[in-house]
């Protein structure tokens, strides 16, 4: 089988002929290159070329999936797959409603990363960043830097006639610092995007200055296990909180019913809060069509505090709702699921100084290590890299901390002022063992009178 989409289309038709239903065929070709500079200054290159194909066969009540990367002889695997479906008698017909009517032609392109120039200058770039970090850092830190360049080409065809080709290019730069004196002092920051400007030298310098200032402060940090009073979430922490508690709770394909499901059309947050899932802006989560062939429409999840829509996939057509084009998977190996793209929390009117004043005697929550949420209840866990006491409208003592637990309903109710400065960074979201890039676009948010347990 060649890489031509026509062959993919013929194979989808072949499967449809044997077992009925509707068949989607996808091929994913990824070139991933990673440069790492470890704490000894050793530079390492890793290159991964991955190319494979998958087929999804659907009938009214079944959903079957086959992934293979043997391009020379796919016939044997396809025969085994169709035989299994026949044996279990789960082939059959498919509701007409699922057949897409309008299909675009041509190639869509997202991102303009100059892979060749980065390939040649990767080592110099990381060396320069390392030199700058060494200058700024007072304490002894292990510095690990990595630069990842990813090129991806996705082809989607379906037995009902779709043919969509999309090309993506993305770049990520990760700075990771670990203290030699105290293992708990662990800081990392990732920048990147789909344009060369997202890792411009100015942005790199800003990141290096910020992270080394935090690292130097943390050398004297104590540990704080209580988090009470007004809280000011950093841009990173705000986005992570919204992504986990609201973003995942509005994905329609969860196996459990979510705490937000019954609140469609009602007010779930104060009027100044709006949350959008936007696939069309310049960020790593952008795309034109999802992995079920639907146009990637933007979704206004929360509009002025009202829960407006969930994120829907193909299967939701049965419930008479239009898919929002959010079904994605990272590789050919996994079945697509309803996922977020670029989650945007709409900025407010407050400057950082005003936000700090409003959160007096509270805490500033630094960027996250990671976070998770139980979408059925709204309980969440956040693990900040550090927290900082706010006194007299300024950031004072810095603390290391354990993970904190809380409930999204309490937090949403107490959402206060929203800042006007926003960030646009890349992030990764893992759901059911599938890791996809998502865009992090968020301001700072003040939350009044909330108590999180450690």
């Amino acid at each position: 089988m060649s890489t031509e989409p026509l062959d993919l289309y013929l194979l989808t038709l072949e499967i449809e002929e044997k077992v009925g239903g509707i068949v989607h065929g996808r091929s994913v070709n990824i070139k991933n290159q990673k440069f790492t500079m470890n704490h000894n200054g050793h530079f390492e290159e890793k290159e991964n070329l991955s190319f494979g194909t998958c087929f999804r066969h659907m009938t009214s009540d079944t959903d079957n999936f086959l992934a293979l990367d043997n391009m020379r002889n796919p016939q044997r695997s396809i025969d085994e797959f169709t035989n299994s479906i026949k044996r279990r008698q789960i082939g059959g017909s498919y509701d007409q409603i699922f057949e897409q009517q309008h299909f675009p032609k041509g190639i869509l392109k997202f991102g303009d990363i100059d892979r060749d120039s980065l390939k040649n200058e990767g080592e110099n770039l990381l060396n320069d960043i390392r030199t700058h970090l060494k200058e700024y850092l007072k304490d002894d830190f292990k510095i690990t830097l990595s630069l990842e360049i990813e090129e991806e080409q996705k082809t989607f065809t379906s037995s009902s006639g779709a043919h969509i080709v999309q090309k993506f290019s993305r770049v990520y730069l990760l700075v990771h610092l670990i203290s030699i004196k105290h293992w708990k002092i662990d800081l990392y920051r990732m920048i990147g995007g789909i344009h060369m400007s997202s890792i411009s030298w100015e942005k790199l310098l800003k990141t290096v200055t910020e992270i080394s200032a935090e690292a130097n402060l943390l050398s004297k940090a104590k540990i704080e296990t209580r988090l009470e009073g007004p809280l000011l979430f950093s841009n990173d922490a705000t986005w992570t909180l919204f992504h986990e508690t609201i973003g995942h709770a509005v994905e329609s394909e969860n196996n459990v019913s979510t705490y937000l499901e019954n609140y469609l059309g009602t007010k779930v947050a104060p009027s100044h809060v709006s949350v959008i899932d936007d696939k069309g802006i310049d960020s790593v989560g952008s795309y034109g069509f999802d992995d079920e062939g639907f146009k990637a429409a933007g979704a206004m999840i929360i509009e002025e505090g009202i829960l407006n829509t969930m994120l829907y996939g193909l299967k939701d057509l049965k419930r008479n709702v239009m898919p929002t084009g959010n079904t994605r998977s990272s590789t050919y190996k996994t079945k697509p699921q309803v996922r977020q793209s670029n989650l945007i929390i709409e900025p407010g009117d407050f400057t950082t100084e005003e936000l700090l004043e409003r959160s007096n005697n509270g805490y500033f929550i630094g960027p996250m290590f990671f976070a998770s949420a139980d979408v059925s209840t709204g309980h969440f866990m956040i693990y900040p890299q550090y927290i900082q006491k706010i006194e007299d409208g300024d950031l004072r003592d810095i603390f290391l901390c354990p993970p904190f637990y809380g409930n999204a309903v309490d937090v949403l109710r107490n959402l206060g002022a929203i800042g006007k400065d926003i960030i646009n960074r890349p992030a990764f979201c893992i759901k059911n063992n599938d890791r996809i890039p998502v865009g992090m676009i968020s301001p700072k948010v003040a939350i009044e009178n909330v108590r999180l347990r450690s």
Partner: protein, 427 residues
């Protein structure tokens, strides 16, 4: 298909041999075939056939490179290697040559028979499931998964192969029936009875009124794995008691992660990790050890899947085995009046400067009063000083293996009895 792989591998070796700037290289081929069938409200067949290629290269200047790809990309990958071989800048201090005499060679296996057997085994357990889902109220979904893995390691004359099989049947995505399906019916019965029991007994939060707590091997094993893999050993050294012994045993029978050959094709053997509370070998300090020994696996923490051809082999544990205690589980149940048995829960280690605390969020447990279960413990949080786990408590004599998918290892520990005055209940 597999014969094609041999051809591709030979081509790669020939081409790499021709590149003068390469001193030493290793070619790995990983073939995975997997079928997962789901019975229940969701009916599905999921098949995966994947062949991955990984090439490790050491240049004449000791530069080190690691290149991976799916097998269809082999030719492009070789172009990249020949272009980059001269300017690899990472330093690898060891050579692959000393590995060769230790390689384990296994006779070639007919791959056609291999595939036929695969299809036969998947069919073997088929029809029982559909009827069970319909008849048993508690069962919403049965997942039957079967996979076979082949690792090929090749350099010149040294060939080795390893086969790994795994088969599991899960109910509702969680309750694992294990590999042996001969007593499938009785296991289903146990599952239903347990579920019925959970419905009948009242649910309660954990309270102060217990004399003792007992932690299941699942929680105790998770604690041990988390300490060894996610925390610093400087801290662990002070936590373990003088009685604590932990072994790494890749040859442990009836364990999912046991293997006689590691991912470099070298024979594996057991080693000590903790000897009477003293740390012998930390995972990332084992480089020298694996140069001549075994136990190198393609594994990465916090990556999914944790075990893949895309990661270079590095030292990792397979089966963590704790020294046994003196107690018997039945004796504990019969001798303690008020006992909180914690079966499942999430754990978190909170590290402070002087000490470390363990936080257990209970998901499932039972309250034993006068040797009988009276209530289900469904929620609550316990805080325990990590030192108490190893220094002030005792484990049972019989070990139980629990596979932790996050860490890609199996822990073999007993039940752990801990006095209630060492445990703080957080409200």
């Amino acid at each position: 298909m597999i014969d094609e792989l041999h051809q591709i591998k030979d081509d790669i070796v020939t081409r790499l041999d021709r590149i003068k700037s390469i001193k030493s290289f290793e070619v790995f081929i990983h073939h995975l075939k997997q079928t997962i069938e789901e019975y229940g409200t969701i009916k599905s067949v999921n098949g995966l056939s994947s062949t991955g290629l990984a090439i490790r290269v050491i240049s004449s200047q000791n530069g080190f490179g690691f290149f991976t790809g799916t097998v269809s990309q082999a030719s492009k990958l070789l172009d990249i290697i020949s272009e980059k071989a001269n300017r690899l800048s990472s330093i690898e201090e060891r050579d692959f040559a000393p590995l060769r005499p230790n390689r384990v060679a296994i006779p070639k296996i007919s791959f056609q028979a291999f595939d036929e057997k695969f299809n036969h085994e998947i069919l073997e357990v088929d029809d029982k499931f559909e009827s069970k889902v319909e008849k048993t109220e508690e069962i919403k979904l049965i997942t039957n998964s079967y996979s076979e893995e082949t690792w090929e390691i090749q350099r010149g004359l040294f060939v080795s192969k390893s086969f790994e099989k795994s088969k599991s049947v899960k109910i509702n995505g969680k309750f694992n029936l294990g590999k042996d399906l001969r007593d499938f019916e009785s296991k289903i019965m146990t599952f239903s009875r347990h579920k019925g029991f959970m419905k009948e007994k009242p649910q309660t939060k954990v309270t102060d009124n217990y004399d003792h707590f007992i932690l299941s091997p699942e929680i105790f094993g998770k604690i041990v794995a988390k300490i060894l893999l996610e925390t610093d050993f400087r801290m662990s050294n002070e936590i373990f008691s003088e009685r604590t012994n932990i072994y790494e045993d890749p040859l442990k029978p009836y364990s999912y992660t046991s293997t006689t050959i590691d991912d470099e094709g070298i024979k594996t053997y057991p080693m000590r990790i903790l000897d009477n509370g003293e740390v012998i070998a930390k995972e990332d300090e084992l480089r020298e050890y694996i140069q001549y020994g075994g136990n190198a696996y393609r594994y990465k923490l916090n990556r999914f899947p944790p075990h893949s051809f895309e990661f270079p082999p590095h030292p990792h544990y397979t089966n963590l085995v704790m020294d046994t205690g003196k107690l018997r589980f039945e004796d504990i149940i019969s001798s303690v009046d008020n006992l909180g048995l914690i079966e499942k829960g999430g754990i978190q280690i909170i590290q402070r400067r002087e000490k470390a605390d363990l936080l257990i969020r209970i998901h499932q447990g039972e309250l034993y009063e006068n040797q009988a279960v009276t209530k289900n413990i469904s929620s609550g949080t316990l805080l325990i000083d990590l030192k108490s786990i190893f220094q002030d408590s005792e484990s049972t004599r019989n070990l139980q293996g629990v596979y932790h998918s996050k860490y890609y290892l199996t822990s073999h520990t007993g039940w752990l009895l801990i006095s209630a005055d060492k445990v703080k209940i957080i409200r």
